[in-house]
Symmetry: C2
C-alpha cells in the first residue's frame, strides 16, 4: 500500500477511535476529579495502534469493524492505564508523556493510581458491553475478556513490567530481553488483534497467524522505540531522549548497536508480513502498518 | 439462626473460599515476585464476606453454589486489590493490615502497585472462566462482568476512595458520609450478592431486594468499622486503632457519638433483614450474617 494511501486509511481509523474514546468517559459523572484525570490520560494524542489492531482483526474475520468499537476502545484504555502506572514515581518516575505532564504530575500520585485502576476497570465494562451489539456472540465476548485479562495480567503485560523493573541497572542477555518485551508489549498487541478476530468468529488456524504477526510486530515496535530513545528528536518522540541510558536499561542498541538493531527490526517486520499472506488484500493495511512502524527509524 | 450454628456454617463457607483462593494464584508462574506478592496479599486471614455473599446469592437463586466459585473468588481478589492500593504511601499510608506488614512494606511500592493491578486483572479472568461451568449461561456471565466492573469503577468503589481522600481533614455532613460509604464499600457488597443471583438466573424483582440488603449491610458494616476504630482491640481488629482520628476522618462516631452510631448500625441491620423475608429459610444464613456483623461492636 502506497504511504499516502496508508496515511489516509490510518487517519480514518484514528478518527473513528478518537471519536469513540471521548464517549467512553462520562466527564459529567461524580466524582469529577477522577473522570477529568481519566480523560486527561486517555486523550493525549496516542498512536491508537492497539484499538486499530482490534478493528483490523475484525475486518480480517469478515465483520464490520464498527460493531466492535467498545472492544477496540477497551484495549486503548488498558494501554493507557499501564502508561499511567508505569510513569509513577515508584516505577519509571517519568514527568513527561507525549509532551505533556504525566498524570501524577498533573493530578497527584493518589489520583493517578486510582485513574489507572479506573481505566482498567472501565475497559472490562466496555468489553462486556460489546455483547449488546447485534450479531456478536456472548461466548465470543467471554473469550475476548479471558484473552485480554490473560495478556494484561501477571503472566503478560504486568509480568513484563515486573521483569523490566528488576532488570534496571543490570545487564541482561538477548533471550531475557526478548522475553521481557514479548510480555510487556507483545502480549497486548496480540490480544488486540485476536480480540477483533474472535468477535468475528475466526477459526483457530487463522488466529494463530495473527498471533505470530503480533509477536513480531511487538518486537519490531520495541526495537524501534529503543532506537528512537537514542537517535530521536524530543519534539517528535514526546518524551525525554536518553531515558533508557539514564535508567541503565539494557536495550537492543546497547546489545547490538544502532545499525544491527535496525536490521533486526527489519527482519521482524518481514516475519510479520509473511504471516498475513493467506489473507489476501484484506490484510494490506496491517502489512503497511508494520512497514510504517519501521519507518519511524528514519 | 443460633450463633453456634451460624459460626459452623460460616466456617464451612470460609474454608471452601480459602481452598479455592489458593488455587487462583499460580505460585510457580513466572515472574516469581509478583505471584508471591499476590498470594501474600490474598491469603491474609480476611473475613471473606464478599465471596460468601456471591455463594449466598446463588443459593437464593436456587443453584448449587459450588458452580460459581470462580466468581466468588474474583470478588475477593477485587476487594484485596483495593486494600493493597488503599494502603500505599500516596493513599492511606498504612503499614499494618490484619496484623501483618502491608504489601508495599513487604515487597516495595512498585511491586505493590503491580500486585493490585494483577489481582484486579485476574479477577476478570476468573469471572470469564465461570462460563465454562455446565449450566451457567454466557449472557449471565457477561452481565456479571458488567455489574462488577461498574461497582468497582470510577462511579463505584474507586469513586468512593476518591471522595474519601478528598474528605480527609475536612468535616463532611451525614449525606456525604452516606454517599462515600455506599460507593466505597456498599457497591462491592451489592455486586457480590447480585453476581451469584444473576448466575442463578434470578428475576429482577428479587435482585432488587438483594440490592437493598447489600446497601444497608454495607452501611452497618462501615458504622461498625468506625466504632471499632475508636473502641477496638488492636489484636482483634488487626490494624492500628485510632487511624481515623489520626487522618482527621469524619466518621459516624465523630458525627453522632458511639451510642447513637450503634443504634444506627442496628437500624440498618433490621432493614437488611426485612428485605430477605420473602426468601424464606434459604435466607437464614444471610440474615444471621447481618446480625453477626452488628455483634462485632461488643
Amino acid at each position: 500500500m502506497d504511504l499516502s494511501i496508508f496515511s489516509h486509511e490510518l487517519n480514518i481509523r484514528k478518527k473513528l477511535i478518537e471519536d469513540n474514546l471521548v464517549k467512553c468517559i462520562n466527564i459529567n459523572a461524580h466524582p469529577p476529579s477522577i473522570h477529568a484525570a481519566m480523560e486527561y490520560a486517555l486523550l493525549n494524542g496516542g498512536k491508537r495502534i492497539r484499538p486499530i489492531m482490534v478493528l483490523e482483526g475484525a475486518k480480517l474475520a469478515g465483520i464490520d469493524y464498527k460493531k466492535i468499537l467498545p472492544t477496540a476502545c477497551a484495549l486503548e484504555l488498558i494501554h493507557t492505564y499501564s502508561l499511567v502506572h508505569d510513569d509513577l514515581p515508584a516505577m519509571d518516575n517519568d514527568e513527561l508523556r507525549r509532551g505533556k505532564p504525566t498524570c501524577h504530575i498533573e493530578y497527584g500520585e493518589d489520583i493517578a493510581i486510582l485513574t489507572g485502576d479506573a481505566l482498567l476497570t472501565l475497559a472490562f465494562e466496555l468489553l462486556a458491553s460489546n455483547s449488546q451489539v447485534v450479531g456478536i456472540n456472548n461466548l465470543n465476548v467471554v473469550k475476548v475478556i479471558s484473552e485480554v485479562a490473560n495478556a494484561a495480567g501477571s503472566q503478560g503485560m504486568i509480568g513484563g513490567q515486573v521483569i523490566d523493573l528488576a532488570s534496571e541497572g543490570k545487564s541482561i542477555d538477548y533471550d531475557s530481553l526478548l522475553n521481557l518485551h514479548s510480555l510487556k508489549t507483545g502480549k497486548l498487541f496480540e490480544a488486540s488483534l485476536v480480540s477483533g478476530a474472535i468477535l468475528g468468529d475466526m477459526g483457530e488456524e487463522d488466529i494463530k497467524k495473527l498471533r505470530n504477526y503480533a509477536y513480531h510486530y511487538g518486537l519490531a515496535f520495541q526495537i524501534t522505540d529503543d532506537i528512537l530513545d537514542v537517535t530521536g528528536d524530543v519534539s517528535k518522540v514526546g518524551k525525554p531522549i536518553g531515558s533508557d541510558e539514564k535508567n541503565f536499561k539494557t536495550t537492543y542498541p546497547t546489545l547490538f548497536g544502532i545499525e544491527k538493531s535496525k536490521e533486526l527490526a527489519k527482519v521482524n517486520i518481514d516475519k510479520c508480513i509473511d504471516n498475513l499472506n493467506s489473507f489476501g488484500e484484506k490484510a494490506d493495511f496491517l502489512k503497511s502498518l508494520a512497514i510504517y512502524t519501521l519507518l519511524r527509524n528514519n
